[in-house]
Symmetry: C2
Subunit: 118 residues, 2 copies
DNA sequence: TCCTTAGTTCAAAAGTTATTGAACAATTGG
DNA sequence: CCAATTGTTCAATAACTTTTGAACTAAGGA
């Protein structure tokens, strides 16, 4: 019923960095950060890839300790493990998110990408 | 004579994170940070791998924009691109280094590893 | 000039990661 | 119960990454 997550002290720096070193996953994290407080289900991210592919990327994020997934009915409610990451690697998540927000090369979740003026 | 480096504005967040998501490269960065100011040549890192393998990892770091390599005679003097990284991704390098310094799972450059008391 | 030191390049092998489609499981609503 | 929704698992494939040894280049010193 509940999915496996690492404990806070099991979260590994190289694994977290490696997992964030992928544009799709960085876009997921950026979107989660922009909706912090709300729990999103996997379907919210379908702009970023196929259902199967998102299942794969979301599992990577969860197994690395970046996100938490709670089973609610047929949904998995996904949240950022911000407090745990801040405790383990102070400042890291903030700086990654700040940089990701400014990155026009990352895929976007909304229906449209960054607007480029004519 | 001079090796290729990305400009500051060409440094990519996912590429930097991906490159840092490797224990050997994180150990290189941690050691560079601990000797900041001094320019180290590749041989200083031989504890972390074979000569060929270090050439590979150091090229990855350089191509990602994390380090700078200056050719001086037969040596490549390696430094962290701290100012460029701070300008591009404020706070990121500091938080990564701080976390890496505390990570006993990373390989170490000195002759001995972390001491574990009996 | 010859030898050494420093580091790169190349090709091969091994290992890992990303992506896909088809099939599956579990819950919810009619 | 039946159908729809949500998401997983599996196997296959493609693509990339890491590691290795042998061969190489380029500079420096004897």
């Amino acid at each position: 019923m509940t999915l496996p997550h690492p404990n806070t002290d099991q979260i590994s720096l190289p694994i977290v960095l490696g997992v964030l070193g992928d544009p799709t996953r960085l876009a997921i994290v950026r979107y989660l950060a922009s909706k912090e407080g709300m729990a999103l289900n996997c379907s919210q991210f379908l702009d970023l890839g196929s259902k199967t592919n998102l299942s794969y990327h979301l599992a990577k994020l969860r197994e690395a300790g970046v996100t938490r997934a709670e089973v609610v009915g047929t949904n998995r409610m996904i949240t950022l493990r911000r407090a745990d990451l801040d405790a383990r690697f102070p400042g890291l998540l903030d700086s990654v998110i700040a940089a990701a927000v400014d990155d026009p090369a990352l895929p976007a979740v909304g229906g449209h990408d960054i607007e480029v003026p004519a």
